[in-house]
Symmetry: none
DNA sequence: GTTGAGCATCAGGTCAGCTTATGCTCGACC
DNA sequence: GGTCGAGCATAAGCTGACCTGATGCTCAAC
């Protein structure tokens, strides 16, 4: 194999027209350059520079070699930069914020995929409600967050964020299995006297429930609040009350019955958000992994069971 | 710079899926391959293969690097072959300088032959008078030049040049067809009152005319100057004056009459010159082609028509 | 349990290639 | 025309990269 180091020196010699100058630019002594060029000439079997006491004259072969060789070396340099960039992408750190429901269903699969592809990437996961997580994305403490938004409680996104829709999910009404409303064409008004198990106050899940009931002419009696849908469903199973549960959180606990609302097909949307200006190279991969996992969930829809 | 030898080994390892097999194919010991891969990993700062006792598993980074790297190495191999071919003289670049008359008569045939023999050679042609072309040969900007010299205006060649005679040509006197001197035994004195069309001032063609006329006891009245003998002859045909034209430039335009000088058979010599030290392998082929073409012109003589 | 294949690691030797020193040539400049 | 400096070549010596060979580990196959 032609020695690429020698080739680089040759290109520099042709460019500068002098062994000494090439040596200065490349950090060699002129002796080294002289030896390298001699070695290269020996390798190709042709005199590439005619030497005079004070100067050299490149033969046409040298010009041709320098020409093509220069391109090649540039390509090689480019490759090296690519590799460097890639390595930085592979070993970077990505901080993800996510709401609890997503972290048990969507996120694990996506992270598994991500860390299989990028075994050296460091991925940190924080769990919190969108209201808490978004400020962290804005301040840069998180690179990326999964957030949800209810149809009835639309969010406004700060302009500096990129928002990528991941999936839509139905909202299910859950009642105890022995409840009289455990049939599929339930109307919300039928449940106006029930006690409700809702999300924590201030979450958009709770707001959604309030607005929904308001539209049907009543205010729900909130018996208990939890942001953990497993807890919510256990309470339903225990007969404490009824609840509105997004499909992602649905667990099919014995003693519960889930059904869509008859006349108001309600939806919750899940998005990934990140600052548009964030240049973390892992970002793209993470978003792609999330989208891929979610698309496998029936084209981005999670439907009632 | 990433070590290309290591890169080649990496590509082979990815291809074969094994250090040991790559080592066998590349003529190394497996120890060497192991060390090379370790060094490469150290260089890029990432683990490229997960090691198990009996096997390796390439990380995705290794696959990416091997992919692009393979292309690069292939390009480099291609380059090496190009260089080899060029060195053998199949390829390469030859820069030729020639005076206008030669470039329309002698050179095309020789170049046709040359490029038939060496279809990949790149041949560059520059047209200029010997006075301009010789310095370019000396500085190495041209590999080879065709020059002419008049008997009456001999040239001295710099010592570092090799000069190969190509052909000799007669000088013809051209007069308008209806001129009283349009007979074959004209003497120069008969034309001393004519107006002359000469080559540009400073060319040896012009000097030759001056000296020739001086030998016959007069100074020519120069009506017009051009280095393009086609233009010169058109002017003669138009009755502007008479001219001295080398046989190579003779065009037999209607309205002109050409004849040799009766008592002074004048000649112009055409040579190829190149620096003796020039090692361009195409040089020899080019000179041979030129000689061959010129010898076919009646043993190196171009005679009056 | 034994064997063999694959990989890592260590020690040792070789060689490419660098620097340093020296010499030559030639242009520039007094 | 002598001196000086810059550019190139060459010799000598040293260093570091890298290969081989030896050794050891692990695991699969028999």
């Amino acid at each position: 194999m032609l020695n690429p180091v020698h080739l680089r020196t040759l290109v520099e010699v042709v460019k500068t027209g002098s062994f000494a100058e090439a040596a200065r630019r490349l950090g060699y002594t002129s002796s080294a350059v002289s030896q390298q060029i001699s070695a290269f000439e020996r390798a190709v079997g042709v005199t590439l520079f005619e030497r005079e006491a004070h100067s050299i004259r490149p033969a046409s072969a040298a010009l041709l070699i320098a020409d093509r060789g220069g391109e090649l070396l540039a390509a090689f340099d480019g490759f090296e930069h690519e590799v460097k960039a890639m390595v930085q992408g592979l070993r970077g750190r990505l901080r993800i914020g996510t709401f609890p429901t997503a972290s048990s269903r969507v996120v694990p699969k996506a992270l598994a995929k991500l860390s299989a592809d990028l075994p050296d990437a460091e991925i940190l996961l924080d769990e919190a409600e969108p209201e808490d997580v978004l400020p962290l994305v804005l301040t840069g403490e998180l690179d990326l967050a999964l957030v949800y938004a209810y149809d009835l409680v639309p969010r406004t996104w700060p302009e500096e964020l990129t928002v990528v829709p991941l999936l839509e999910e139905s909202l299910l009404v859950m009642v105890p299995a022995d409840h009289s409303a455990a049939k599929n064409n339930v109307k919300l008004e039928d449940l106006k006297d029930e006690r409700w198990i809702a999300s924590r106050d201030g979450t958009s899940g709770a707001t959604c429930l309030t607005r929904l009931c308001a539209a049907s002419g009543f205010a729900p009696r909130i018996a208990f609040r939890s942001n953990d849908y497993e807890v919510v469903q256990s309470l339903v199973a225990a007969g404490v009350g009824v609840a509105l549960v997004p499909a992602l959180g649905y667990k099919a606990l014995p003693g519960t019955h889930a059904m869509p609302l008859r006349h108001k097909p309600l939806r919750r949307h899940v998005h990934v958000v990140h600052r548009t200006a964030n240049t973390n190279p892992l970002l793209r991969d993470a978003v792609n992994a999330l989208r891929e996992v979610c698309e496998n969930a029936v084209g981005g829809y999670i439907n009632p069971p």
